[in-house]
Amino acid sequence: METKIILCGLGGQGVVFLTRLLANTAMADGHPVMVSETHGMSQRGGSVISHLRIMENPQTTGQNVPVLSAAPLIHHGTADLLFALEADEAVRSLPYLRPGGAAFVDSENGLRPELAGEISRLGFHVHCVSASQLAVELGSVSMANVILSGFAAAHPEMPLSFESLCETLKNTSTRGLERNLQALETGYKVGSLRSIPNLEM
């Protein structure tokens, strides 16, 4: 199965970095990937959204990449996962999620309460974490994106493992590797505590 992922946030929050982290990890795992990114003026604080497709590993399926998977944008109602670095941007992108899909959101207070009914009707799994707060505690808000990816890696819906994300950071970081690994681990630890139902508060 192809995995379709929407990643969103505000310009400057590192949506592009997060997208490339996931894309590179998937590729290292043998999956062809296709991404559409936002560049230009929106990067100056506007809404930023990436569309990421992780396809079947052709060596496992024995088939070539289906031509279908090359569409740059994902249709509303078909994304398996949503990553949001800001709560209102998560809401704006929520229509991309398919019924039963999962959202990983950097938010202290969850999503807007008006959405509770729809979230339950469509069976969305919304996982919130105060990633930017944790990032500030680690020394820089700019690491919220990596924390969110670590957080997601602790959940069963996430197709990429914590270990592969670590590998990607090690192979692609030109600077700040230690801090990024620390951020990934922080997110993963918080996620591991939460994803065990018994420990959920």
């Binding site: 505000l10 310009g11 400057g12 997208t19 490339r20 894309a23 590179n24 590729m27 999956h31 062809p32 990937v33 296709m34 991404v35 559409s36 990114e37 936002t38 560049h39 230009g40 003026m41 929106s42 990067q43 100056r44 604080g45 506007g46 809404s47 031509v67 279908l68 090359a70 569409a71 740059p72 944008l73 994902i74 249709h75 509303h76 109602g77 078909t78 209102d88 941007e89 809401v91 704006r92 929520l94 229509p95 398919r98 019924p99 807007r112 008006e114 959405l115 729809e118 469509l122 930017s132 500030v136 808000v141």
Partner: protein
């Protein structure tokens, strides 16, 4: 064989190196800016030297690359679609003279538009100029097409266009890198004099035009057989078919999958000249055909549909503006299929959720100048000095966002701030409007298109203030160096750094001051002096150069002189700073009782101290 994820633009840059281009030039513009950086990356990686440059503008860039092709080298030039307007003059001429080495003109279109002043279709520009076009649908296909296009260019001695769109340029795709391409032999090329071609007078141009038309007929036949034009779902026995190109081709296939319908789809990779025989054969036998392309009609325009009904933008089936998103393509395809009696699946989108989200008061995220941006300080001072009544012609760059501070009133194209200010001066004189005219232009834009109108304004006696916002780089598109920088795009030293004040003086301007907009008081005084000069006896254009590096490009000055601020308890939430200064780090409290500083994004520039006239923003820790 290794696999890497490449940005569409990097993939194009890689292909230019792989295909042996020796000269690649350009002027940055979203979504094309990363192509030249890609060339630089791979020329180093493969040790295949390519001369690259960020030229002063697109016309210059095209002519520099054209000369290389006349010598016999392979060359390319990159730009965005509106840059092609600037380069149109040499493009149209070069289509007649032709080329010797392969010549690829890369013009990136921006359906949406996301980052442009128009949604124009460069394929139509190519059609008018009589330049064949390749229209890639994915980063991998863009890479593949570069070789086809250069080979065609050399075979027919014609310039050829590659026209990617935003989704191709800024798409990322994993692709194979098949090791290093072979080392290039030293070129034996030499410029050969050929007056009837290279200095062709109108009489010869007539013959060149005939020759060009003949070549286009041959190229059309070649395109009829090209593997870049192909049919998917050929066996699908339906009454309706689709002709699609570019990224919209894949969006179409995705929509058909969601609709649960198989239609024959003709994918066109070479929209001009249209492979007429192929298209005619595809259409014959179909009751209706839908043409899906971006951003305008190039294929649809060239089709003779005969008895088949032709759906597209002209009959309103496809919206006539904006990007073709999956939801839009799904909706119009469904509508056409239902009219034809073909059953379809419902949309995967959830209408109720979409409606609810639409109805929520989500914040509007307009782009804003970054915290610490020197442009903000300059605009704020301009507004305080000249008030809301003054006329503020603006220009293209990050600083167009000065409109948020209401210090930019007009936006036309690169360099227009200067010529519009000039025009306002003369028109205002005629109608008796005495409001001051204060224009703004960035350093890169000034060098691109601001000098010529400045000469014009000085020569004809216009009186206005021109603020050159010098942030030491081309910030909006990713920090490409300008001719005023000390280094070239590959990091090597520039042979000469032009001096903005010297250029301005050489244009005949007699009032030129250079000052730091962070010194708001003194900056404002300089603006007043400039205005007084422009209006005084024997006055003219007065130029204030606002010198402050972009905070993203060079944070050193702020790091060395941080001015952390706090907002005192007395803050009454009057919102003046939030609206007039508009720094993203100044945030109104949810209960609107006061303004807080978002220290997560504040850069300690201290510039907002002057933005609270009540004195509630103060230096602090």
């Amino acid at each position: 064989m290794s696999r890497e994820i490449l940005l569409g633009n990097e993939a194009i840059g890689l292909a230019l190196v792989e295909e042996g281009c020796r000269v690649v030039t350009g002027y940055p513009g979203t979504p094309s800016s990363e192509i030249l950086a890609g060339v630089n990356k791979y020329q180093k990686q493969f040790a295949r030297p390519v001369y690259t440059e960020w030229s002063t503008n697109e016309k210059v860039a095209l002519e520099v690359a054209l000369a290389a092709t006349w010598v016999g080298l392979r060359a390319a030039v990159t730009m965005k679609q509106v840059g092609l307007n600037v380069a149109a003059d040499p493009l149209f001429s070069a289509a007649y003279t032709g080329v010797r080495g392969g010549f690829l003109v890369i013009a990136a279109d921006d359906p949406g538009p996301h980052s442009s002043q128009t949604e124009q279709d460069s394929r139509l520009m190519a059609l008018t100029a009589k330049v064949p076009v390749f229209d890639p649908a994915t980063p991998a296909e863009a890479r593949e097409m570069v070789g086809h296009a250069l080979a065609l260019s050399e075979k027919y001695g014609q310039p050829v266009m590659l026209r990617p769109t935003t989704r191709v340029c800024h798409g990322l795709q994993s692709m194979a890198l098949d090791g290093h391409p072979a080392e290039l032999a030293a070129p034996k090329a030499r410029f050969k004099k050929d007056p009837p071609r290279w200095v062709s007078t109108p009489r010869f141009r007539y013959f060149l035009h005939q020759e060009l038309n003949q070549k286009l007929l041959e190229i059309e036949k070649e395109f009829d057989a090209s593997p870049l034009n192909f049919i998917v779902h050929e066996g699908a026995s339906q009454k309706v078919g689709v002709i699609a190109s570019g990224a919209a081709f894949h969006t179409t296939l995705q929509a058909l999958d969601h609709l649960g319908v198989q239609l024959p789809v003709l994918k066109i990779g070479t929209p001009y000249p249209l492979p007429r025989t192929l298209v005619t054969n595809f259409i014959s036998g179909l009751e209706a055909v839908i043409v899906i392309e971006e951003p305008d009609i190039c294929i649809e325009l060239q089709i003779t549909a005969g008895t088949t009904t032709l759906h597209g933008r002209r009959d309103g089936t496809v919206p006539s503006a904006g990007e073709l998103t999956p939801e839009i393509v799904f909706t119009f395809l469904k509508s056409v299929l239902e009219q034809t009696g073909i059953p379809t699946s419902p949309s995967p989108a959830d209408g109720l959720l979409e409606e609810l989200v639409q109805s929520l008061p989500l914040p509007i995220r307009r782009p804003r100048l970054c915290p610490g941006c020197g442009h903000r300080s300059a605009f704020f001072s301009m507004k305080r000095t000249f008030g809301p009544q003054a006329i503020y012609p603006g220009d293209i760059g990050c600083y167009t966002l000065g409109a948020n501070l209401r210090a930019v009133d007009t936006l036309v194209d690169m360099g227009a701030s200067v010529s519009m200010a000039h025009g306002f001066y003369h028109a205002n004189r005629i109608v008796g409007d005495k409001r001051p005219v204060i224009a703004t232009i960035g350093d890169s834009t000034f060098l691109h298109s601001g000098i010529v109108p400045l000469i014009n304004a000085v020569h004809t006696g216009a009186r206005f203030v021109l603020v050159v916002l010098d942030n030491h780089t081309t910030a909006m598109t990713g920090f490409q160096p300008t001719a005023a920088n000390e280094f070239l795009m590959d990091g090597s030293a520039a042979a000469h750094q032009v001096s903005l004040p010297e250029i301005v003086r050489a244009c005949g301007v007699r009032f030129v001051v250079e000052t730091d907009p962070y010194e708001q008081q003194s900056f404002s005084e300089k603006l007043q002096e400039a205005h007084a000069f422009s209006q005084g006896d024997g006055g003219g254009v007065a130029v204030v150069i606002a010198n402050r590096p972009c905070v993203l490009y060079d944070a050193t000055p702020i790091r060395e002189h941080p001015v952390p601020v706090v907002i005192t308890e007395e803050c009454d939430g009057c919102r003046y700073c939030v609206e007039a200064f508009e720094c993203p780090a100044l945030v109104l409290a949810p209960d609107r009782s006061r303004v807080n500083i978002n220290y997560k994004i504040c850069v300690d520039c201290g510039q907002c101290i002057d933005a609270c006239f009540k004195g509630f923003i103060i230096p602090g820790i």
